[in-house]
Amino acid sequence: MRRTLITLLSITAFALLALGIIVLASASSEQSVRLYGNPHQLIYKQLIWFFLGLILAFIAQGFDYHYFKLASVSFKIGKHRFCQVPVLTIILFLIIIATLVLVYVPGIGLKVNGSRRWLDLRFFRLQPSEFAKIVMIIAMSVWLDRIGSKAKCFIKGTFLSFAILMPMAALIICQSDLGATMVICLLAVVLMVVAGVNLKFLGPLALAGAFGGVIYVISSPNRLARVEAWLAGVDSSMEQADQLRESIVAIQRGGLTGVGFTHSLQKYRYLPESHTDFVFPIGAEEFGLIFSLIVVLLFVTILICGVLISCNAPDKLGRYMAFGLTFLIVFQGMFNLMVVTGLAPTKGIALPFFSYGGTSIFSIMIAVGMLINVGRHIGERSEHNHTQRERNAIRTI
């Protein structure tokens, strides 16, 4: 069981990565020529991120996820005793918060297309919000695991959970990265649902959040226009629908078997962002419905593996993390596909494994690695093991 799941998950992830490289090799050529004058420049870079990502995934799958909980300290401030505070998680959390703020610091923060979402590390552009998603999963899982059955009460289960979510969500929405904000909020909410947070409290709050999201969209004419274009449909003459129209044209051009590798027409500037968020239509154009269904099937495979790992995880932390990571991968993939086929309004969500971008690849590889790590613990006798590890961990720190 354990072995089968891990093997299946690895193969699926590899298959997606391989498909991603092939599709991107063609889809990025036009943009690459435009930026570097060389059609292969972008795919070379992507290959570098791919190999670095493999290393990260390897590290992640070997890093026992219990350390997020067990690398902890206990201390006393005045009368208050703090028992087993998970310092590793807190440090990660603070680092992410810091980088999200650093984006605004001139010199290191980078402004691309009018948005400040990137850190300029000279050789690499880092998008902290991608890692924020993973850290949110870790932090939320650790927290929900810690409060255990108290998740049902309002203060700990609902209020404080939201307190963890809010600063990160607030910082990301300040970068007007609606896609990432949505993913992070959904991650937190889904984890709370899984952890058994009382739906009487969570429901109204989630609704309020959704309402806030609607207000946010309406507040900006630009964003509103996008949603309006989506609602009006592909055939509307709105300028904002152009990208979606071209995207659907690409997918339709593909037909059953596609127009052939590198024979995409839509990548020639018809379809903007055809190497990042809108890479899937190019793949669908070149390889047809067969490709589209294989991609959907592979994401479903990941979903099944992830859910099985989650259900069979030895403890609550593993269960939460596995589900969060599965959700992260599959939801982003699914939402991206829905956007490019016009089922969902355009939000900046990249297609995992496919879209160009180092940060995206890294975060997805780490997520896969961590998921495998949880899978590796299936069947362990949790409680005893924990206490043993707990003791060890406390001793080491």
Binding site: S149, V249, G255, Q266, V296, R319, F323, T341, L343
Partner: protein
Amino acid sequence: MVYRGQKLTSSWRIALLALLFAGCMVYLAMSLHRVQVVNSADLTRDQVRQSVRRVQVPGARGRIFDRNGICLADNRPSYCIAYYVEELRKRGKWQRTVDAVDADIDRLSKVIGLPREISKKRVALHVRTSLPMPLLAWRDVSEEVVARWAEEVGSFPGVDIYVQPERYYPYKTTAAHLLGYVGRDRPKPLPGQRIHFYLPEMIGKSGLEFEYNEMLTGVSGGRLIRVDARGYKNAVWEGTPAVEGDDLHLTLDIKLQLALEKALDGKKGAGVVVDPRNGEILALASAPNFDLNDFVPAPSHVTWNKLNADKALPLYNRAIQGCYAPGSTFKPVTAIAALTTGKITPDEVLHCDGVFKLGTMRLRCWNTYGHGDIVLQKAIEQSCNAFFCELGHRVGYEALRVVAADVGLGVKTGIDLPFESSGLLPTDEWKRKHMREPWRVGDTCQIAIGQSMLLTTPLQMAMLVSVLANKNSLYRPHMIARDGPGEIVREMNWPAPVIDLVRNGMHDVATKGTGRRVQIHGTEIAAKTGSAEYDSGGKRKKNTWVTAFAPFEKPTVAMAILVEDGLSGGYTVAPLIHDVMVEFFGETPVEEMDDSLNPPAVEDISD
């Protein structure tokens, strides 16, 4: 699986969420199938429509030849300096590309030493609307300019010489009105096809270039180009090749045309030479004229304004547009009307005492002493006004008008040239409407001698005289050579004695009457002179005419020449007819006519 210590309560929630997910995935897969397979066909079509553009490529314009195969309108290569904007494209906003091209044009302007021909606005328009086409920055440049450009070619990427055919008229001013000129304009799209891009095509603006534009243009070809989303082309397919325009073979004889224009040189007037056997136009000229090559590629403002401001109206084709009273050249028509209606017999003698009296009206004959007792044939020879006024009076206007209409007056001749005028053959109705007066007998008498309201074009008079020449048929005059007999508009069926008498009268005009100066050695000519007075700023002036045909027995040529502001038909125009006849029959005059250098005698001045 059994877990100790921890109670895993949330399995159903996970299962629910996973099912939700799976449902979404299935829906997604179904949507993909719908979009990609079911709806695939219609969007493929849309996409081709979006990205493929059609460029109309004109075929080479047909040439124009005279009847002996001498080229009158040809094509020559014209060198244009063209910008291929795509090669100067700049990233980012369009304006950056426009700026770059604009700056480059300024730079090149200094190198080749020519001022700019196109404004920045034009550049911006080109970038916006016809990006894949060459932008012609300088048209029709000299070889020297091309050489200067060639020296610096390395520092001007994206600039090239674009050769386009341009019209060339080897005979310059000759037959200018006839041939017409071309301009460049947006081409007509072929039926059922859209033009996305085009280069301005040559389009006839006047004369034969206008009349036969479609034939000369040929069938445009198409080139398909595929453009990317920004409008830059990324592939070209040769589509249908252009079909060359047909050549025009005219009935015109350039030698005769040259002789006619030489005869008219320095005067204001017009002449038409026609073959009376089939209506072929052998020469058709209007003076003054203009150089057609000034209109290539387009007339400069200076030329255009000069031509338009000229009081002599050089752009006006007098031969088919000019309306003049025919004067005495109309008298044969009156004679025929009188003879066919039996109002006079060939032998009836009338008396002319220098003035024609009718009631209170007095109409003077040009010979103030009178012609005495004369018969019809003599009256034609002497062009006696009193005699023909009497004939007009006897015949009545209606019968006269019918004959005049029969020989083609008052309507367009139907020649294949644009903007022809129909002249004027007035009626009672017309006079009441336009002059608010009833018809009077005096009007009939005036028209009987070709004066007053009657207006004809030189072409109409040439066709009239060719009817007299061939005795029977009015042909439709035409410029294009074609096999077979000419197109007959109407047959007259006059009794032979009637037409013979009139022809004999005209023969006498040329041998001993008012038109003696038309004579040439070796060929018998029949002619009729005429002059019609008109008022020009208070001064009495005369439009002078001669119509003629030759040889007398079997005519092969008929002509009418008009000169504005002449002295008399016999004195001013007859020598011109003589010159053209000499060119046609190849006769060299044996001796100068005795009186040709003398000042005009009294009888010459009046016809």
